[in-house]
């Protein structure tokens, strides 16, 4: 009986080691969004291509759509951009860009250079809308449903795998729910 007490340190250590092993697969730096399944923050921003036109969250009501946060100064955005351009050709959903803390001239030049997959880009020069969406790094991508509820957030550049295995099925499900 007394011997069992002496096994406690070993048992505690194995519990710890198991947890550490699980930890190896996780990314401690990734910040999950608290906005999933919550209404998207209301916004009203000028368009990048035409400063006189405004786009508001309510304008999107009734459609499933994607919001992609990008900037001309963002190096990682170049990684995902070709894929995003290809994806936009499928015309599955409207894709809107959120041009985060950028300069109009640089942003427009960047799109001209690398292609424009967006129905429109919104110009968020001070990053306030970004803060409301919980953006902490660029690029980030949101999937928002017909009722303005955020259904998914992807942090970092989009990959073909994420698009195929996570985003497209989600878009399917959301569109079916509507029908």
């Amino acid at each position: 009986m007394k011997r069992l007490w002496f096994l406690i340190p070993l048992a505690a250590f194995f519990a710890l080691a198991t947890m550490l092993a699980l930890g190896l697969k996780l990314d401690p730096r990734e910040v999950p969004s608290p906005l999933i399944d919550k209404p998207a923050p209301k916004f009203s921003l000028a368009r990048l291509d035409d400063a006189s036109k405004t786009v508001r969250l309510d304008d999107m009501h009734g459609k499933v759509w994607m919001l992609n946060v990008w900037a001309s100064w963002c190096v990682a955005c170049r990684e995902e951009h070709p894929m995003l351009v290809e994806f936009s050709k499928k015309k599955l959903v409207p894709i809107y860009g959120l041009d985060y803390k950028d300069q109009r001239a640089d942003a427009n030049a960047w799109l001209a250079n690398f292609g424009n997959p967006y129905d429109a880009s919104l110009f968020d020069d001070e990053g306030r809308v970004g803060i409301d969406f919980g953006v902490y790094g660029v690029p980030e991508t949101f999937v928002i449903d017909q009722n303005g509820v955020i259904r998914m957030k992807h942090i970092g550049p989009l990959t073909a795998e994420v698009l195929a295995t996570k985003i497209e099925p989600l878009l399917e499900r959301l569109k079916k729910a509507d029908a």
Partner: protein
């Protein structure tokens, strides 16, 4: 050629460490003197080979051999010579080699300073250390080889992280590693004793000086890290409860508990299995720290370039080493004897109280550090645990510990009574309260928390003085021979007093700086002034400076009090073109009772800058206290009991006396 030589040396060392791990241990079991005799020479050879490898790597750095991948990643032609040398341990691979150098050095030291130990015990201890060396060598050679080549050879390297180009960087990691790795000696002594079944007071007496030595290095290493963060990082903080800081603090807490527990075991032969468990835990925490820093499991400002594959290897090593030693503990410890008797209230039990508090404190730090990981692994969300948590939880644990620190040294062995202690300590308690309130009133603006802190510091000092007076008090009323009685106090006791004094100084510094520091963020144009506590800080502008591998802006701030200039400060903003990093170099005027700390923020145009000005009262007492603690450890470790020659002389004299 030279990198290959170093690489080869490590492979040979791997082979010899496998031999060291097996033959002497088997030899001890089977009583084969020839196998046991292999232990000491193997230990010396392994150290020589690892040292050779280290020298080869150092030469590669000094010669700017960018064909070595590790050199190219951590050095640069414009890096000054002394930093080219310290860059050897600036990255993951080199730091593992440094770790190995320390480990094999401690092994070598044990092999050399163990003539008084029985052959079997030495064989077992060195075998265990041989296995540790084997594991780390394997890790290095399989996943973290610093001698990998890089082809085609780049013209120049990537430069050392500018944060590390600093004198503090030179000394902090080696000191810290000496401490971490030094705990492997106590660990090996414990495991060897469990295997051999010779756990007794003698074992404790052998283990204690090695543990104290490791503890001294760990204390200095942590203090240096804290001091370095203070002056290097530019915002005046000195402890952030960052996972890597915690990874060094936890072994320190357990090592402190171990030193106190060894005192009980050595004196009274009691609580041996608990002491052995602490010895195993101490080094286990060192290994855990290595894992946390290099595996990418926790986000930390200190973390090396992370690689899950390395993390997996270290985790496997952890499981094997700690798992098997704890399994051995579970198997053998129940048979260990109970030692001598002592009462519910006695010095032994108070020392054990100290142990409980220190281990719980370590547990609290471990809980806070790993909780985010635990929640994430269980899919329960992501949280952060930072200074607000640790500060809230740690200080209440510290308070009873400090109280015990005053009571413990005055308690008698075997049995002591509450009335006895109360009578002897009532003056100390009164003096501490008076001193605390007096200091609070004189210093001003301290608050309740500050008074409690001061009370703790003065309590330690007052009870320490009580102990000293009791020991120096003449027996029989004769007032002479105080000096003689002072010399009779064992060094271990003197060491304890000095170390406890160091803790008091530390607490004093922390209390006054936390309650009294003043910070100003001001926009200063040339000639503008700001005032703190009667001292006027005048901004005299910024000029361009160039360093060997950086461009900088150096500010000039003159501090005056009345008519006298008390300090001239030169804070800098340095830009390192190779790594594209900007560093803020604070400028500090250190004084006995305060630091004046200035750092540059951003330029705001027109020659004006944002300047951060701090007055930090008694902040240097924090690190001063740590140094005094380490000094106390040094005094204690050189006690007559541990000095081999002194004992041999004493034994000879006793033998001569007996026959006369």
């Amino acid at each position: 050629m030279i990198p290959e030589l170093g690489h080869l040396a490590l492979w040979i060392a791997l082979g010899i460490s496998a031999v060291l791990g097996t033959l002497p241990m088997l030899g001890a079991a089977r009583n084969r003197r020839d196998w046991m005799a292999l232990a000491r020479p193997s230990a010396r050879w392994i150290f020589a080979l690892v040292a050779l490898a280290f020298v080869c790597l150092a030469i590669s750095f000094i010669d700017n051999d960018f064909s070595v991948l590790y050199v190219a990643s951590n050095s640069n032609r414009s890096l000054p010579l002394h930093y080219r040398f310290t860059a050897v341990w600036g990255g993951h691979e080199g730091s593992i080699l440094l770790w190995l150098l320390m480990l094999t050095f401690w092994t070598f030291a044990v092999a050399t300073f163990s003539r008084h130990l029985p052959e079997k015990v030495v064989a077992r201890i060195l075998s265990v250390m041989g296995w540790l060396a084997f594991g780390f060598l394997l890790f290095l050679l399989m996943t973290s080889n610093p001698f990998d080549r890089l082809l085609p050879v780049p013209a120049d390297g990537r430069d050392l992280n500018p944060l590390l180009q600093d004198p503090g960087m030179v000394i902090h990691p080696p000191m810290l590693y000496m401490g971490y790795v030094g705990l492997s000696v106590a660990f090996s002594f414990a495991v060897a004793a469990l295997i051999g079944g010779n756990l007794d007071a003698t074992w404790a007496r052998w283990t204690r000086p090695w543990t104290v030595a490791a503890w001294i290095f760990l204390t200095i290493g942590i203090a240096l890290g804290s001091g370095w963060a203070y002056y290097e990082l530019g915002w005046g903080g000195w402890w952030f409860w960052d996972p890597v800081e915690n990874a060094s603090f936890m072994p320190w807490l357990v090592a402190t508990a171990l030193i106190h527990s060894l005192a009980v075991t050595e004196k009274r032969n009691s609580f041996k299995s608990w002491t052995v468990l602490l010895a195993i835990m101490g080094f286990s925490l060192s290994l855990l720290g290595t894992f946390l820093v290099r595996s990418g499991v926790l986000s930390s400002v200190h973390a090396f370039a992370t690689d899950p594959r390395r993390g997996l290897f270290i985790l496997a090593f952890l499981v094997i080493v700690i798992g098997s030693s704890l399994a051995l503990f579970a198997w053998r410890a129940p048979t260990v004897g109970l030692g001598a008797r002592f009462a519910l209230l006695s010095r032994e039990s108070l020392l054990l109280g100290n142990n409980v508090l220190l281990v719980v404190a370590c547990g609290a730090v471990l809980l806070g550090t790993l909780y985010p990981l635990a929640l994430d692994a269980l899919g329960l969300g992501k949280i952060s645990v930072g200074p607000p948590y640790f500060d809230t939880v740690f200080v209440p644990l510290l308070t009873p510990l400090i109280f015990l620190m005053g009571v413990g040294p005055l308690a008698r062995w075997k049995e002591t009574t509450l009335p006895d202690l109360a009578t002897r300590l009532k003056w100390a308690a009164g003096a501490a309260i008076v001193a605390a309130f007096l200091t609070a009133w004189l210093h001003g603006g301290v608050g309740i928390v500050g008074v409690v802190g001061l009370l703790m510091a003065f309590w330690i000092i007052a009870s320490l003085l009580t102990d000293l007076v009791e020991r120096l008090r003449p027996v029989g009323g004769m007032r002479s021979n105080v000096l003689h009685r002072a010399r009779l106090i064992p060094r271990a006791t003197v060491g304890m007093m000095v170390a406890h004094l160091g803790v008091a100084i530390f607490i004093f510094g922390v209390t006054l700086v936390k309650t009294g520091e003043v910070e100003r963020d001001v926009k200063m144009g040339v000639g503008d002034t700001t005032e703190i506590d009667g001292k006027t800080f005048t901004f005299r502008g910024v000029r361009d400076v160039t360093g060997p591998n950086y461009r900088g802006a150096q500010g000039l701030i003159v501090v005056t009090q009345g008519d006298k200039t008390i300090a001239t400060l030169h804070p800098e903003k340095r830009f390192f073109p190779v790594t594209q990093a900007t560093m803020t170099e604070a400028s500090i005027d250190s004084g006995l009772t305060r630091d004046l700390y200035v750092s540059l923020g951003e330029p705001v145009g027109g020659g004006a800058w944002i300047v951060r000005v701090y007055l930090k009262p008694f902040v240097d007492w924090i690190w001063g206290g740590c140094l005094v603690m380490a000094l106390g450890g040094l005094i204690a470790a050189t006690d007559r009991r541990y000095r081999i020659r002194a004992r041999q002389t004493a034994d000879a004299a006793a033998a001569a006396g007996a026959t006369a």
